[in-house]
Homo-oligomer: 354 residues x 4
């Protein structure tokens, strides 16, 4: 209802503002008996955290997750997993310049209008810092899903695009580049471009692609909770996302049925995979793949005219340490949301037959 929970059975509820004491969450419905590798969880956190490379924000946040419940002797007990990530930087900044002014294309104006009050420090609840809690839950979801692989990667930065199908890529290379693009050449181009954009005091958008392999047949709850509809909502709930497409996507709208239909092999697999691993809203066992479009970060290091609460025009000065391009750090977030959806729908599917 109030929007801070995600999932049906495997359900994450998050709390926390960028400059409060801490952020964190509760994972309810994680099945009992999962032996958790806590280092692996922290490793996922490190993929998302600020300051990890030369092309992301240079803010310092250790992003260490502390678990308060739900894990006993390294194993999930079936009761809620409560966790907290302290905000290291909470008191360090002066935010008076945005206290009364609304930053363009941020959530300042809409939060103020909706709630009548706003924690203006660094974006408050609307800050992408909240996604750190998603990465915790996603890392646990991944460990629930043994045998299922979830690999996201950067497929575009501005107009530099990786025009290859995921089946033509070596996804083990993704983490070897700071851009998180598995094509080494394209990755270098993208890196250059991001550095240039930063010098301009500007930002740029991009696309994250994701592949989920090893999904059993049968996940998805028609008619409204089709698997791709939930994946779409999951992705669209990430800060700065403007679009989602799966399988053939927008390009599929151009095709004819005779070109688009996926003919069967005798074992139920298909010769092509325009469907993107989902038919009628239910997984068919083929790779699930999708693209997520991210807009350029709204905080730029350039002066912009804007308004304050009284409607006066004021100048917003660009300052602070922000990401010139959000997609490298978005990769683990996309994976986390995907993992939560698959874990949730895998559990839901246990109830489909007598």
């Amino acid at each position: 209802m109030a929007g801070n929970s995600f999932g049906n059975i495997f359900k994450l509820t998050t709390f926390g503002e960028s400059h409060g004491v801490a952020i964190g969450g509760v994972i309810d419905g994680c099945p009992a008996g999962v032996e958790l590798d806590l280092e692996e969880i922290q490793k996922e956190m490190d993929r998302r955290k600020p300051g990890q490379s030369a092309i992301v924000t240079q803010r310092k946040e250790p992003d260490t997750v502390e678990f308060y419940s739900g894990i006993f002797e390294g194993v999930t007990t079936g009761v809620p997993i409560g966790f907290v990530i302290k905000n290291a930087n909470q008191k360090s900044k002066d935010y008076s310049h945005i206290k009364d002014a609304y930053r363009p294309s941020h959530a300042d104006y809409t939060y103020d209008q909706k709630y009548g009050v706003r924690d203006y420090r660094g974006g408050g609840r609307s800050s992408a810092r909240e996604t750190a809690s998603r990465v915790v839950a996603g890392a646990i979801a991944k460990q629930v899903l043994s045998g299922i692989k979830i690999n996201a990667y950067v497929s575009a930065v501005g107009d530099i695009r990786l025009d290859k199908a995921h089946t033509d890529l070596d996804l083990t290379l993704t983490e070897s580049t700071i851009v998180r693009c598995p094509d080494i050449e394209k990755s270098a181009e993208m890196e250059q471009y991001i550095k240039q954009i930063r010098k301009e005091g500007d930002t740029v958008g991009g696309v994250v692609s994701c592949v989920i392999s090893g999904v059993p047949v049968g996940l998805g709850e028609p008619v409204f909770d089709r698997l791709h509809a939930e994946l779409g909502k999951a992705m669209l709930s990430i800060n700065a996302v403007k679009g989602f497409e799966y399988g053939s996507g927008f390009a599929g709208a151009v095709l004819k049925g005779s070109q688009h239909n996926d003919l069967f092999n005798r074992d139920g697999s298909t010769k092509t995979n325009m469907s993107g691993g989902i038919q009628g809203g239910i997984s068919n066992g083929m790779d699930i793949y999708f693209n997520v479009a991210f807009k350029p970060v709204a905080t730029i290091m350039q002066d912009q005219d804007t308004i304050d609460k009284e409607g006066n025009i004021v100048t917003m000065q660009g300052k602070g340490r922000h990401d010139p391009c959000v997609v490298p750090r978005a990769v683990p977030i996309v994976e986390a949301m995907a993992a939560m959806v698959i874990a949730d729908y895998w559990l839901l599917n246990r109830a489909s037959k007598i």
Copy 2:
């Protein structure tokens, strides 16, 4: 949970298969005191129904909605609105050819795998016939939302694209064409193309665009239930949808922040609207607009190889009366889902402040 409900407060639950006795649904949470124009509801049904023009399926279904509850002397009473749409055609067909065979890119295989049993007649639950119930609920949601306008239209059929912003279109023309494209010239081209495709026994995909005007500031429930995330899920839950983008969408991923940011006017409106009427997941009062990609219909009038339950290769003969292109009839469905989301979030927003 089991996937056949949509919405939080204004909530639709649907039932029914294409060839059962009837389809229908229950709308729970429609506020009391709405004076309903029942003819207007039927008019929306007629926009979706088969046989309405030369370019859609020639199946005959009157699609008359009967209301069983929740409306007293023409006014909603706040209790659930139950409704039923009888299936006129339920016994007329022979479906033995798909009883054991799986049609390519349909849901036959995945339903059978998930549930172990399947009503194979005409797609059963996976048929787009189910969307008729959505149109009923959407038509009521529209009447709840006085002052808010929701206009969808066809913006692409195959590679014939309407490359104009919604602000450059006269949306009152949409219904004057059978394609439901408000650009008369493009509409004629599209109509020609659809007719040609049908002659080929083939089908083609397309894009439906939608504009929502007059939305108050403040709708949307961060962080997971951002307004556009729910709109995205709503659209992705419609049969044959492969993608969703709002505001600048995938094209926005190419831009720089300095190009993409929407600068404010003194009244809180913005000079540009890359944000698509939503910032931080909350409506900002500007037009909400989005695109929805539809794949080509999987049923084609050509022979295709496929498999049966035992994994034998069999020939699937194309027959029956299906839509060569789904987008003209999808227009009212897109509007209906949009109306339900906005009505639901409008009611949700009543709880945001003390």
Copy 3:
């Protein structure tokens, strides 16, 4: 949210007023593969229907259930089961005497205040007629739960009480009496009392007890969705219910821990069953048993002073055909709600372990 759905996975949504066209509902989440005995369902309906014996209302309603979806060749398909029960009597009555007046201890006043509008014919949505839909869903839930027995019976009518534990009763006798009390002597006393009450133009309350046997260990979702909490809500949602207690109940509050603790047998069963088959909110495999208190029906055949919409004192004349005592017909409703809870929690429990 809006209150007309019950359950998490196995979920019933109902619609319909006592004097509208029809009542009915949608059961979502019934697992696929259940071979339904439709006659058995109608038999449950007949246990609830009016006119079945000399001590219940003499209204005539055949209460025939029609299924519109979700069942194919006698087997559930995993998709929603839509059903309708036509209102035979919908136009027969004159309700002008309650159009503007509020009947004491009915829901007339509160519905009017809450919704600002009300279907005043025969109670509208607040009529117990709505429970017919629950009996349909409960009858299906019973068939989902093979091996689990649910037996309710009347244990008190006014101050005539059946002071025996369920273990000292032969519950197969319940249906042999029109009161539905398995103790033949007490049953005769109760029947006499009800007849006398009816002659007085009055009504009387009573208690329904229920026993659920064969429940597997492990059902229940702490901490808020404890099994007995959901059973309690289920029962309290039935018209006219004023109280719920399980296991030792209110009498247990008087006892000492040394008297109340259930000591274990070696197989995990317990020597006594003060716990009522539930410990820590989770079933322990012993009989679940509980009591449900029903107030006297508010419609009496005597004149009462009351008020109209303008606050004028008016005389409400007792007329119509109502039950002098609701508990005999409440027995199948209590069973139905219990069956839905157990079916739902049985499905939920499939997700508790990896």
Copy 4:
């Protein structure tokens, strides 16, 4: 679903075991703009905490609540309120005696069977320590509900009963006694009895009554989410509760309709209040009142035979510091759950009319 959330709009999710690092929770949907009195919240915590008087457990837990989010400059911001209560005692005890043995009438056996694994230290998740988080949320709900008074009190300890209607009591006296019974004489009797029970190494049950005054007309969501059904579930979800009754309750089942009906005054109030402030599941503006039965605490200071995981009979020695009677400390918990229900339904009701 997984049971650790309560509420629809005003929703609490809790986490934490009695001997983990911390317990806590997230309150989602608290409306923005509530000026919180944080001392008042801590005062409610102190009413529940151990060691507060001679008749409760002498465990030491400061139970200090720390807020991590959702409150800015003392005012709620509409985003989730995350909070944590550290466990002071987490490492102090030796729990090897219950590691493998199942304490009678505790949740040890059922948790082990359900989840296959269990945090055995001090009850883990099944400990009533979890209710501290409910008191936090309830204290906030009370502050949301200005003008509504919620007063619980002890009305029975064992067979010592306060046989007075709430209207004959001075509820301002409740907190002046350590039993929390507003009748000073009865309170003294109860206190004596509890002390004697403790000397015996035994425990005893009791009843908590609660009155809610000033509730506006119209709260409640028929048919399943009747206001009293949700209150009942709320109470039954508290540890050790065995029964719930509201208004006339079980005693009402004995009465005739002519005795039980609440006749109207001209202003819509009623001359009597058998209905307990709720008619047809919707509040009518009169006092809402109900009773909650608590069983005796299962931990007694006497030796009991029990079984271990292998089904061997072992002797469980009574030790530790537990409450001889739970009801004095249950009073603030009952109030907290009541406050959450009323706050939630008050917000829900904002959507009932156009």
